[in-house]
Each structure stands twice: as structure tokens, then as C-alpha cells.
């Protein structure tokens, strides 16, 4: 009976999708020549495809539900398999070592293309970790994060053109400037909450991009800045492949540094203040946490990483224009954070690697690349709503040393 029911359900789904996709998939009009072509075979494909997929979909949903029920019934604090593994030093240490070795030998075993996309992914790792401070820890939804990224990239490009400053000098300057912008943005939005904050940050991101586009005398406008030098290594001449490997290692170092700092921050006083702010603003204030300072520090620190990422980005691409800093970029970084798992460092790293490398590996599907990527985004979110690896809530347990005294 159930099997029959399932088939009936899938049949309905497939009919529904055939109806849904009918005009856009089947009919192709040429409004100029006034001709219509009917592509019925596509309808059949949609029907059969959705019929099969609906089984998979329902099966997966059911599994997810039973899984959720189990955790709800069992001890609520149960950790996932990955997290349990991570907390086990016998697994964690070799895994870390293996990752480190892999990261070190990676550029020598893979092609220039692989190194290049990996470097891009690493840039997004630090962008994700930076935004994670703002969104994941402090709970402030920021849709204009790319603005700080642009600040970093343009500060390197412009400082190089006007003052001949090199990459290493610009890295801290870019980060510092981005931090200042973070504070500047932070002030007016202190009062705002939730989605009002999101829209203002979105506006801020767009303002930065539009200024870069319009103010030719300052930013060279939409035609961008070309021939930005790659970072030098003691004045040696490097081929592009070599300098890409060099940038790759710079990025690995920055990522390690970032992980170190973010971990420290998370466990620090200010980190816990952020989490308190995220959970409940009023209660947080009531406990005597300075809301202004906490929010501003989140914005400023988040922006710093973006600025650093921007400098490396400009050095890597050697060409920047405002087209790289659209709102889609902010959205992608936000996807990294949420998909990876808000507040979880490992989650964000995995999120960045998946979201940045997936479209590249999906090149095999040529024109269907972005379609599949979008579908993957929805599917991943539906089946892992808390992100790939959700953050572990730190529990401070009272271990009961005083039991004897009370007894």
C-alpha cells in the first residue's frame, strides 16, 4: 500500500512540475519573427526527472526528520560524528598533521590552475572567517561585507600607483584602512537590528562600489587598475606559476594566522560578549556589557580580515575593477558562513572550500554549471539547515567537587 502511495505522490509531483515548467521549458517564442517552437521532449524529461527525484527528496527528508527526532529525544547536547571525532585528540592530531602536509605539498603536485583556484578559495576562507565574527558570533547580519574587501584591494592598488608601496607594506595598511571603515560603518548602524541592519550594510556596500565606479579621478573608474604587482620574494624574478605558488603559501600562512586569532577571540572576554549579544541584546546589556563597544569591535575586526583578503586578491589577480565587488560577492560570503555553520571555524573553512571550488569543478557541466550550483545550495541548506558543521556550544559544567561538603 505504502509503495503505491509513494508512487501516487511522485506522480502528482511530476505532473505538477510538468505543468510548472510547461511555458518556459516547452514553448520558445521568437517575438521578432513570430515563430514558436514546441519542445515536447523536454516536458517528458521534466516529468520523468521530477518523478524520480521526488522519491529521493522524500526519502532524504524522512531521514532528516527521524534524525532530528532522535536528537530531540536523546540527550540534546549530542555531538555529531564529525564533532566527536574532532574532539578526540587521537583522531584530531593526525588529521591536522595530514592536512598540514597536504597543504604544503599541494602546489607541487597540482597544476597552476588548481593552485590558482585553491588560492582563491583560501582568500574566501579568511573572508568567511572574518564575516563569521560579525554574523556568526555577534549575530549582526551584514550584506555589505564586500565593501571592506574592496577597500583592501583598492588601497593596495592605489598606494602602489601613487606611492610605490609594495605588497608587504600594504597588507597591514589595507587591513587597517578596512578596520577604520568598519568602525565608520559601525557607528550609524548601532541602533539598528536584524534586517534593517542588513539593508543598511547592503547599501553601504553598494555605495562603496558606486563611488569606485563613478569617481574616475580617484579610482580610475570602471576600467579598473591594471598591472598591480604580485608580491616579490627578495627581489627574485618569479614566473607566474612560481609567484602563484608563493601567493598560495602566503595565503596558507594568513589562514593559519586567522584561525589562531579567531580561536583566541572566540574564547576571550570580547568573544563571549559577542555571543551574549547574539543571543539576547537586552539581557546582554543588563549584564553590564558595553553594547556599543562590542558591536563596533565586531564590525572592525570582521572588516580587518576582509581588508587583508582584498590586498592579497589585488596582488593575485593583478587587475581590479569595481565589477569584482558587487553585492553577489557579499551574498556568496554570507552563504559560506551560513552553509559552513555559523560560528564554527572548521565549518566556515569547509563552506568556503566547497562553495568556491564547486563552481570550478562544475565546469565539466559547462552551461549547467550555475544551475547545478544553485540547486546544490538549496539542497545543502534543506538537508543541513545548521550548516555543514554547526558550532559547538561551550558548556561550563559544574563537575561537583563540593558534593561531599553538602552531604
Amino acid at each position: 500500500m505504502t509503495a503505491l502511495n509513494e508512487i501516487k505522490k511522485s506522480l502528482l509531483v511530476s505532473i505538477w512540475f510538468m505543468f510548472l515548467t510547461f511555458p518556459i521549458m516547452v514553448i520558445k517564442v521568437n517575438t521578432v519573427e513570430q515563430t514558436i517552437s514546441w519542445r515536447w521532449n523536454r516536458l517528458a524529461a521534466v516529468g520523468i526527472g521530477s518523478f524520480c527525484l521526488s522519491f529521493v527528496w522524500r526519502y532524504m527528508l524522512k531521514r532528516k526528520e527521524t534524525g532530528a527526532k532522535k536528537t530531540a529525544l536523546g540527550n540534546g547536547g549530542e555531538l555529531s560524528a564529525v564533532q566527536r571525532l574532532l574532539q578526540n585528540p587521537r583522531f584530531f592530531k593526525p588529521a591536522l598533521l595530514a592536512t598540514a602536509v597536504f597543504a604544503l605539498i599541494y602546489p607541487f603536485y597540482f597544476s597552476m590552475y588548481q593552485v590558482n583556484i585553491m588560492t582563491t578559495a583560501l582568500i574566501y576562507v579568511i573572508l568567511g572567517l572574518g564575516l563569521n565574527i560579525v554574523v556568526g558570533l555577534a549575530g549582526l547580519l551584514d550584506l555589505g561585507y564586500v565593501a571592506f574587501y574592496a577597500v583592501g584591494a583598492y588601497s593596495y592598488a592605489l598606494l602602489h600607483i601613487h606611492f610605490g608601496l609594495g605588497f608587504w607594506a600594504c597588507l597591514p595598511i589595507g587591513a587597517g584602512l578596512a578596520m577604520m571603515f568598519g568602525i565608520v560603518l559601525g557607528f550609524p548602524v548601532l541602533r539598528l537590528r536584524g534586517d534593517y541592519l542588513a539593508i543598511v550594510t547592503l547599501g553601504f556596500g553598494e555605495i562603496i562600489r558606486l563611488i569606485l565606479e563613478n569617481w574616475n579621478a580617484f579610482s580610475y573608474g570602471p576600467s579598473g587598475i591594471a598591472n598591480i604587482p604580485r608580491p616579490g620574494l627578495f627581489g627574485m624574478h618569479l614566473t607566474i606559476h612560481q609567484s602563484l605558488i608563493y601567493i598560495y603559501f602566503i595565503m596558507v600562512a594568513i589562514v593559519v594566522f586567522t584561525i589562531f586569532v579567531v580561536r583566541r577571540l572566540q574564547d576571550s572576554r570580547i568573544g563571549r560578549a559577542w555571543i551574549a549579544l547574539r543571543e539576547d541584546e537586552v539581557a546582554c546589556q543588563a549584564t553590564g556589557i558595553d553594547k556599543t563597544k562590542t558591536k563596533l569591535s565586531a564590525f572592525a575586526l570582521g572588516a580587518t580580515w576582509a581588508g587583508m583578503g582584498g590586498v592579497v586578491f589585488a596582488a593575485k589577480t593583478t587587475f581590479i575593477n569595481p565589477a569584482s565587488f558587487t553585492i553577489w560577492e557579499s551574498v556568496m560570503i554570507l552563504c559560506i558562513v551560513v552553509l559552513g555553520g555559523m560560528g564554527s571555524i572548521l565549518g566556515v573553512i569547509l563552506g568556503a572550500l566547497i562553495l568556491m571550488l564547486l563552481p570550478e569543478y562544475m565546469r565539466a557541466f559547462s552551461e549547467y554549471r550555475m544551475l547545478l550550483f544553485a540547486a546544490a545550495l538549496v539542497v545543502m541548506m534543506v538537508f543541513r539547515p545548521n550548516g555543514i558543521i554547526s558550532a559547538v556550544r561551550r558548556n561550563y559544567e559544574f563537575k561537583g567537587t563540593n558534593e561531599k561538603e553538602t552531604a
Partner: protein, 300 residues
């Protein structure tokens, strides 16, 4: 003064266009607090469905007004269906998930629909016929305002009135308001929350579809990407007016439209959007919940 009047009318057109999209945005937000990124794409789907219907019907040789009406109905049906499906597939399973998860899912839907239309139809701009007849009485005003603009103003107003009526006075509207206020509580008093949410998506999408047909007809061209830009602007407008509030969405849209129009007219269109966003920031600083938004005080 003429110049002012013309800019005023231009701003009104822009504002009304934003409003038709912003209304759906604000409805969905009001009920499940989701920034429905895919709303702009629903509008685009509506425009495409309308274009396809129109082309098919034109070949059958129907009367222009009839074509327009049938196309609008088809667009509404299909947009609603897409909105409904998107909700069922991508947002409903995430109802109990963290607040940002449905947002990412919505971004995925938006990207999916864009690429779906790009692949199934074309990447090129397609001309969209102007089916709104020229009103004779407008001739006297020397082309200050076109008939399509008048239709847009009137439709926006009618849609606002109907939606307000729907929400204020019908049973379903009551259920919607209850769900918006407190979903769990609404469920307890017997509101079928799932149905109410689905219904909200259907109505919001239908509004967007209507907007799609009218705007496409006014602008005269569509492609798969029109939804994104319009969606962002409408979202800004909805927030400006106070998200969740229907008159707020319309007012916010009009304010945004006028801001852009006057800034372009008197200063420069180079920084039109910069100014629009700065204006938004300013308003939100003084009224953190938008022009007509409710200011909730936190309870502990």
C-alpha cells in the same frame, strides 16, 4: 515648475513599479521574517510567462485587450505556482532552522530560477509588446505621462486596497496576522499555519506577476536578469517603509522613486543610487524601523 512636475511624475512611475514588487516582499517578510531573495525572480517568471502567452495568442489573432488580460492571468497563475513551489521545496523544510538558513536557500532559488530561464529560453533581451492602449485624453497633456504609467499607478493603488482589505477584514487575513504575530500561538488556536504561509506566498507572487506584466509592457524588454535589480530595489523600498507594513511598502517605494528622480534631475544621476542608499541610512537612523514600521520595544 514643469520640470519639477515631470520629475515628480517620473518618480511616481518608478515608485509604483517598485511598489508592485515590494508589496509581495513585505507580505512574505511580515509572515515568516524571510528576506525572500527569490521574489524578484518570481516577477521575472511572470514577465516571461506573459510574453510567451502573448506571442502564442498574437499568432492566433486575438484582440489586444483580451491578450493582455489572458497574459496577465497566465502570469499570475504561473508566478503563484512558482512561488508556492519554491516555498514548499526550499523554505518549508527550513521552518525550524536558524534564521539565516532560509535566506541562503532563497538565494539558491533565485540563482536557480535565473539560470533556468537563461538555459530554457535565452540570454538575450526580448522585446515585450506594449499592449496597453494609448488613452485619447492624454494627448492633451503633451506626452508628460503615458497611458502605461497611468495603468501602473492605478493598479498599484487597487492592489494596495485589495490587499489591505484582504488582511484587515477576511478570515484568512486574520489568520495571516495571527501567524505573523506568533506562529506557535496561532497554531494553538487552530490556524493552519502551513496553509496560511502558502497562501501568503501565492498572493505575494501574484502581485509580483502583475507587476511583471505591467512593467515589462512599460519598459518594452525583458531578460532573465531583470528580477535581481528590481528585487534589490524593492527590498530597499520595503525596508524604508517599514518591512511588514503594506502601506509602508508603497510609501517607501514612492519615497525611493522620488528620491532617485529628483536627485537625477537636480544634481546628477552618477550618484543617484549612492544618494538613495544614504537617504535610506539617514531615515533608518532616525526611525530604526522604517517610516511606517512598528517600533517594538524589547521585553525580557
Amino acid at each position: 515648475m514643469d520640470y519639477f512636475m515631470e520629475l515628480f511624475l517620473g518618480g511616481l512611475t518608478r515608485g509604483s513599479i517598485y511598489a508592485l514588487i515590494a508589496l509581495g516582499y513585505t507580505m512574505v517578510y511580515g509572515i515568516i521574517e524571510l528576506i525572500n531573495f527569490a521574489h524578484g525572480e518570481i516577477y521575472m517568471i511572470g514577465a516571461f510567462t506573459a510574453l510567451i502567452t502573448i506571442s502564442v495568442l498574437t499568432m492566433l489573432g486575438l484582440n489586444k485587450i483580451a491578450i493582455l488580460l489572458i497574459a496577465a492571468v497566465a502570469a499570475i497563475i504561473y508566478s503563484s505556482a512558482y512561488g508556492y513551489t519554491a516555498e514548499k521545496v526550499a523554505y518549508k523544510p527550513l521552518r525550524s532552522a536558524p534564521r539565516l538558513s532560509p535566506l541562503i536557500s532563497a538565494i539558491g532559488v533565485s540563482l536557480f530560477l535565473q539560470n533556468y530561464v537563461l538555459l530554457a529560453q535565452t540570454s538575450d533581451f526580448l522585446p515585450f509588446p506594449n499592449l496597453i492602449p494609448q488613452f485619447k485624453f492624454l494627448k492633451a497633456y503633451g506626452g508628460i505621462v503615458q497611458s502605461s504609467e497611468i495603468v501602473i499607478y492605478v493598479t498599484t493603488a487597487i492592489v494596495l486596497v485589495i490587499l489591505t482589505f484582504l488582511i484587515k477584514f477576511t478570515k484568512l487575513g486574520k489568520a495571516m496576522r495571527a501567524t505573523a504575530q506568533d506562529r506557535d500561538m496561532a497554531m494553538l488556536v487552530g490556524v493552519n499555519v502551513d496553509r496560511v504561509i502558502s497562501f501568503t506566498f501565492v498572493v505575494g507572487s501574484a502581485t509580483a506577476a502583475l507587476g511583471g506584466v505591467l512593467i515589462a509592457s512599460h519598459i518594452g524588454q525583458i531578460n532573465f536578469y531583470i528580477g535581481f535589480i528590481a528585487g534589490i530595489k524593492a527590498f530597499v523600498a520595503a525596508v524604508l517603509g517599514g518591512i511588514g507594513s503594506m502601506p509602508g511598502a508603497v510609501l517607501g517605494s514612492l519615497v525611493l522613486g522620488w528620491t532617485e528622480s529628483f536627485f537625477t534631475g537636480y544634481i546628477s544621476s552618477d550618484y543617484e543610487d549612492v544618494f538613495a542608499f544614504l537617504f535610506l541610512v539617514l531615515i533608518l537612523i532616525f526611525r530604526p524601523s522604517g517610516i511606517l514600521g512598528r517600533t517594538d520595544t524589547d521585553k525580557v
